[in-house]
Symmetry: C2
Subunit: 755 residues, 2 copies
């Protein structure tokens, strides 16, 4: 077990690494050449233009203003200065509430740490159980519960602390749930007219021999919502069309590239080979070739578009139905339409950007079967993922490669290469799997049939958390694969399981401290450095960027990445709550993580990330639920641990805690969750009335007519930017942030990008 | 273990008992004097009048028509003859669907038995494991899975059968769910205008300093449902008023009695003593005394009524809000009204008869705490109920009684009395507890805050089923109290638990066969005999009945008793499914139970029971869920049993079954359950449109004005009969059954009461 010195060393190394990253970031971000990597959000908002367009040649690429190097940590206070309402305006409610998760971590763990250090550390320290025992121990263990003698009365302190920590966590959680629910409702209320307020997504429209889907939808809603129905838009099956449009876009880029090349060097008309990857085949004039190709594709697209619009088979049994009032839409979304609850399913439409178009047409039975399949698949993924990896590992050895590719033999036999392969290969299969895991989980969620991107990300996050809980948390505590654990748990009695895990927990504290420093501290610093986007941007810029539009795309601002980021935070909540009573020494590391991550992500959200959709913090019930889960797990494990310590008097009193915690969860669920699912009628009516009074002449039909059209039908233009621009037209309010970003990097602005 | 002969003897005894009951019933029911005991339903419907009013004196009491004695089993076909739609008209949908549970039992178990006997009995019988082993065995065990040698390939048969039985059960369950859902929806659609179709119950109206509850409700709904709101009725806290009215009713009965007495014997004015129980104190003229008392009470009632109506504090923060259309009510019931989901809670109003008035005013937080308290209390009740009973038993011995009441000593020391007390007392505490258990569970449900009688009964039934599952089913299999089991299970590993139970199951088959015969067969026959109501009716008639109204009340038709009856049926489903694969010999006993119970309860529903409310089969999701639970339990136990038999190949294949079954349950829940919870808008709109076309001039306000008034406000009359009569006025259709019951017992009618 590591001593305090060891931990100190590890901390020093990690702090240095983190600092190195932060300094690298501070230097790199003020170079104009990196401006698009570190401030893409402002470019996308149109508030910042490329520094490459003006000024001296060198200062286009390198920052020569030495004063700015001195103030290299200024971004931290800058990131903290933007007030929350402005942040919501600037980056959306999702991002603002996402930051509150880190704050929540601080609010929970700072008081808990103070209490733990002032009460429990003395209680633990003033024993000499470990000194008298023969086991190896470190100073950290002297601070932990391991140092209390078996059957001691001092365990009452831990019991009392467990109660206190639980009550404090629940209090903070309830307060936060209340605040976020209020934020969500005010956000929805303060927003301008948006199409999703008036629109309901109807799925599983039953087939009808006499009427088309469109007629059927119109008649159904005219009959059943006569006073509120306004219009509707059917959903087309446009997968083929999308791929054609994407193909055309690619060709268009090549055409732009060759035209650019030709314009720079008028003497030579660029040529290309028509064969595989442009490497072989006959040589043709590139510009003519692509112009012809694009014309051909345009025709195809026109044909396909007509076909899709005219062929009734390409209309999916789903529609976006718009109502005259928000009240009508809220009513329709919340009620059951027909006797058969599996047809005419209505729900509030997601934001147009948030729609996941491919899953519109899945019938109820199929949806139900898909859920079963994915449930089973996820079980196997979680518990048996090591089996195929072990299989790949067994194949990927020197002999296997030599056998499969004998011509590589002489190359492989070089000593350096050989040792590299032997050392590196076994781990690589696991590493690749872990890198692809979020993608695998996302594919699973897509298969399951969610109809909004936010829904997909939420479900993937839940799955990722479960995977991490089983394979990282439990896997580290009781070493062994998840399958071995499962086998162990099945063969153990219900009261043995918390004991088995509980006993190992104090011993793993140092491991988790190191984990927090590597994954949390250095990870955060790495996140702000954006090494991968930085390298990719410059590579693309150097090798691939042909047009200004390509450079726009090369920016890759990314998003928060809810489906991977949130489960990681939750792991820290879990560690903090589990170790709060057992080894309070771990808590400061978690607090540093939450603090650092809060600053880093606030900066990133202000300057970098470009959120794809706005779900108005619909994810908060998940956050709340997972912290409750962590709390219950921590209570059960403490119970297991104390029962092995023969603290017989105090253990039964701990059973009350999980009961109370679960009750608290149910209470909060009933009290706050509806705000995240349904739109209250009172709010809808209020906005309707106000709007009618203000703009009595408004033509809603025009406003709603084309809001929910599949991106490919909107225009031949790039669909993404199209959605974006349409978004901006709809919401001039959202863009008018009070902050004015500097137009060019080296000029210092007021807050956000001060140097 | 009992041999086939033993079982045969037990069967013979029980069949004889059941037959004795049935014959006693056949004889007793055709005596005119018992007419009100065996045909109260017809009296309550007003289709039958008392046989005491005409004819020869003897034939008023005893049936002298000997031909009717010959056809003493005629009630059975008669009970079966009434077609289902007529039964629904006659006794309501609840009763008709309740009978379908028995039919469901037959539909599931008859084919399963046939298959089990033709396939599994030969497979089990043609082994000689038991013969070669040293354990005692009977012929029944030779028919069971115990006779298969360990590790035999014959277990594949059992596996295949488990799959077949599961699929068959699920198929029948799905079909039945579909049928019942359709029945419910057509019942709701075919019904005439009822107040609950237009009315929504609003609870947790927030307090307002400026407006009364009534004004607040009116304003809120005028604003938020402007086109649909019609009127509303506030709910008064009328507990004190109810008790005053009940007191007055009692005095009124005494007055009637004395007036009757006086009218029979004009010479003496009846007197009564004013002291304790009329045994001491000064003697006064009874008629004058009661007239004065009633006058005083009437004044008090008037005062209290005025007070309740005028004092704003006696208005509860709840109201019944009525809408112009069914559509408006359906919308309001299904939607969330305000930001705060714990105020302005709306739900479809229960039928006026079904309302449980005392629970209207419980705020959300209190409701949530009550649920927690009851959850914990029920846990202790289930697992620790033996502790107080054992304590009472330890007190209730001879020495204890002698100590507590020394004056009884000489009496107790009589040998006969002593042995009686010693033999009887220990059991009596348990027996009393079991008799009061449904009442205890009902009190728990009331405390939990349900607002309809049907909801109370459903929750009590669920609790009773859990109690029976743990204490009767598991308690009989692994002998020991529930607490000992719990302790055992906590200390056993997850895969050991099904093994422990599974192994004991084949050995308990004979016990359960006896249980079925005693509790099921004889119980059914006892139910139809109605011994308790018979005796009580005659006792009341002889000692207490003073007026005709008293005789009406002495009838005590009773109800189906969903909260006790349904869990009992579910126990048979559980036994049948568990033993289907293990000891198929048990199945015929269950089939006989279901058949007999079906006939008996059909007869009782037609002739006896008077349902208090109509929930339109809202209980079916519970029925379905519990059968699924039984199915999963049977699969887990079979898995446990097979794994001890070293049928290693087949056991893992069984894991698929519970997964599929639970998925099937979720599928059915999504597909059919909404029909039992919500009112689809299409249906509501259809009925509204039809009604508007037919009766455009209808004054809904008048119709709905007083529908939901607390019974005590309706009139000074007996509140129950008042609700009844009002019910009849509203729904003349419901009374007009096509059947005409004979007016007097000995005259044979067509079906229902043929002799």
């Amino acid at each position: 077990m590591a001593s305090l010195g060891d931990i100190g060393l590890a901390a020093a190394i990690n702090i240095l690494t983190a600092f190195a990253f932060l300094i690298a970031f501070a230097v790199l971000r003020i170079q104009p050449i990196n401006d698009r990597v570190y401030f893409p959000k402002w470019y996308l908002k149109g508030l910042r233009s490329s520094p490459l367009q003006g000024g001296a040649f060198v200062s286009k690429f390198v920052n020569l203003d030495f004063r700015s190097y001195i103030r290299f940590l200024n971004w931290m206070p800058a990131a903290l200065q933007m007030p929350e309402p402005e942040l919501i305006d600037h980056a959306g409610l999702d991002s603002a509430v996402y930051l509150r998760i880190y704050l929540l971590g601080l609010k929970i763990f700072v008081p808990i740490s103070l209490l733990a250090f002032s009460v429990m550390v003395p209680v633990n320290w003033t024993n000499n159980t470990l000194e008298r025992s023969n086991v190896e121990y470190s100073n950290i263990d002297k601070l932990s519960i391991s140092n209390i003698p078996t059957g001691s009365n001092r365990f009452w302190t831990h019991l009392a602390m467990a109660y206190l920590f639980t009550f404090w966590t629940c209090y903070i959680l309830k307060r936060e749930y209340q605040i976020v629910a209020t934020m969500r409702l005010s956000f929805l209320a303060s927003e301008r007219r948006r199409p999703d307020q008036f629109t309901v997504l109807v799925r599983n429209v039953p087939p009808d021999p006499d009427e088309s889907v469109s007629e059927l939808v119109e008649h159904f809603f005219l009959v059943n919502h006569p006073e509120h129905y306004l219009t509707h838009q059917v959903v087309y099956d446009a997968k083929k069309l999308s791929s054609l449009v994407a193909k055309k876009k690619k060709k268009q880029n090549w055409l732009d590239y060759y035209e650019l090349k030709h314009s720079r060097n008028q003497s030579i008309r660029p040529t290309k080979k028509t064969g595989f990857l442009g490497l072989c085949g006959s040589s043709v004039d590139a510009i003519d070739f692509y112009t012809a190709e694009i014309e051909k594709l345009s025709e195809e697209i026109e044909l396909e578009r007509d076909k899709v619009k005219k062929n009734p088979k390409s209309i999916m049994p789903a529609a976006f139905v718009s109502f005259r009032t928000r009240w009508g839409a809220a009513v329709c979304a919340q009620t059951q339409q027909t006797r058969n609850p599996t047809i005419w399913l209505t729900e509030g439409a997601p934001e147009p950007r948030d729609v996941y178009w491919d899953n519109m047409a899945i019938p109820y039975v199929s949806l139900s079967i898909r859920r079963l399949i994915i449930g089973v698949a996820f079980f196997f993924l979680t518990f048996f993922f090591m089996i195929p990896i072990a299989f790949v590992q067994s194949l990927a050895n020197i002999e296997g490669i030599e056998k499969a590719a004998p011509f590589l033999k002489s190359f492989i036999e070089i000593k350096f290469i050989k040792s590299f392969i032997q050392g590196f290969l076994p781990g690589i299969a696991l590493k690749i799997f872990l890198i692809f895991l979020p993608t695998i989980l996302m594919i699973m969620s897509k298969f399951e049939g969610f109809i909004s991107l936010s829904g997909l990300e939420r479900r993937s996050a839940t799955r990722y958390y479960i995977f991490q809980f089983i394979n990282v948390f439990l896997g580290s505590i009781i070493t062994g694969t998840a399958f071995q654990q499962l086998d162990k748990f099945i063969h153990q009695s219900a009261n043995e399981i918390p004991k088995t895990i509980g006993v190992s927990i104090p011993m793993k504290a140092t491991f988790f401290i190191t984990y927090i420093m590597v994954d949390g501290w250095a990870g955060c610093a790495g996140e702000i450095l954006r090494l991968k986007p930085l390298i990719f941007y410059h590579l693309k810029n150097f090798f691939l960027v042909k047009t200004e539009k390509d450079r726009e795309e090369a920016m890759d601002p990314g998003t928060i990445g809810f489906n991977t980021g949130e489960p990681q935070i939750q792991l820290y909540f879990l560690l903090g709550l589990v170790y709060a009573v057992i080894t309070p020494f771990l808590l400061p590391y978690i607090i540093v993580f939450f603090g650092l991550a809060y600053v880093v992500y606030r900066h990133q959200i202000i300057n970098v990330y470009n959120q794809e959709y706005e779900s108005a913090a619909a994810f908060w019930p998940d956050i709340h639920g997972r912290i409750i889960f962590a709390l219950v797990i921590s209570q059960l494990l403490l119970m297991g641990l104390l029962s092995t310590k023969e603290a017989a008097n105090s253990t039964p009193l701990l059973i009350i805690l999980p009961v109370l915690t679960i009750w608290f969860h149910l209470f909060c669920k009933g009290r706050y969750e509806p705000a995240f699912v349904q739109h209250p009628l009172q709010e809808a009516m209020m906005k309707d009335t106000l709007e009618r009074a203000r703009e009595p002449q408004l033509n809603y039909k025009e406003f709603l007519q084309n809001a929910y059209i599949h991106p490919v039908f909107k225009s031949d233009e790039d669909s993404d930017s199209d959605v974006m621009s349409q978004e901006f037209e709809d919401e001039p309010m959202l863009v008018q942030t009070k902050r004015q970003s500097r137009k060019n990097t080296p000029l210092p602005s007021k807050h956000s990008s001060s140097l």
